[in-house]
């Protein structure tokens, strides 16, 4: 899995998805291996303000204890697993559309993170991670002194 690196991309999700797909297709052509389409589960949206980034992801129906988040420098590593419905004796599936299994994504952040101040919460099946920018990484204002 490659890093999802984005800088200054505006609201154009479909374009991004198409590019993603194209990259998959190219990888497949050149390596001769079949690579799964849209392997980026779970889907991620990111917002940015002056001081931090909010990352949100739809991962319904998992135990928050099954989510692992770590950040190193400007790369966030998100992994976890979702278990399939536990079939009781004699139970059978008529349909099984909901994904299950393990997932892992590495996302490149637009800056280095203040690792000890990252907050994550899981509500209504949506994971929201707030990542502040490291002080040392913030742009510094340089005042020009005249004579």
């Amino acid at each position: 899995m490659w890093l999802t690196g984005l800088r200054g991309v505006d609201w154009m999700p479909d374009v991004w998805r198409d590019l993603d797909r194209m990259q998959h297709e190219m990888d497949r052509l050149f390596t001769g291996q079949s690579i799964n389409y849209l392997q980026s589960f779970p889907a991620i949206n990111m917002w940015m303000s002056e001081n931090d980034v909010i990352l949100s992801s739809e991962i319904p129906g998992i135990d928050p204890g099954n989510i692992e988040i770590s950040v190193e420098g400007d790369v966030l590593d998100l992994s976890g697993s979702r278990v399939a419905e536990d079939l009781k004796e004699g139970g059978k599936y008529h349909r099984q559309e909901r994904p299950h299994g393990t997932f892992r994504r590495k996302i490149r952040l637009p800056f280095r993170a203040q690792e000890d101040k990252i907050e994550a919460k899981y509500e209504k099946g949506i994971l929201t991670i707030t990542i502040p920018q490291a002080e040392a990484d913030k742009p510094r204002k340089i005042t020009v002194t005249g004579e």
């Binding site: 949206n45 940015m48 129906g61 004699g90 909901r98 899981y122 209504k124």
Partner: protein, 134 residues
Amino acid sequence: MADRGKELEVKKEQAPLDTESLRNRPVFIPQVDIVESKDLIMLIADMPGVDEQGIDINLERDVLTINGTVEAPFRKDYRVIHAEYHVGDYRRSFTLTDAIDHNKIEASVKNGVLRLSLPKAEKAKPKKIAVKIE
């Protein structure tokens, strides 16, 4: 994600607009699992962003419709820098047969997953018929 291609679908299809919504947002078909056991049929739907207040389940004749409304977060002073999924409502309908006891349907929502329990009607349960010996 694991090995099955189907599991990789990131977001569900857009629901057909048989009736148009007043809300200006996409409507998605939630992904469901349907599991049948001895006494009931369990319908499990992924509806991230939906809680008890946002869910509406309707049974009209034999058609069971689940509706989920999602409030998209508004984040002042933030701009989108990356987007892989859209936020929208959910709608999907299922046709029930007489095999379901319409009066005993129960629903619960947890962590963005709706679980509908559809108990089988008495007459639909398999019955053991004793064969009399003459």
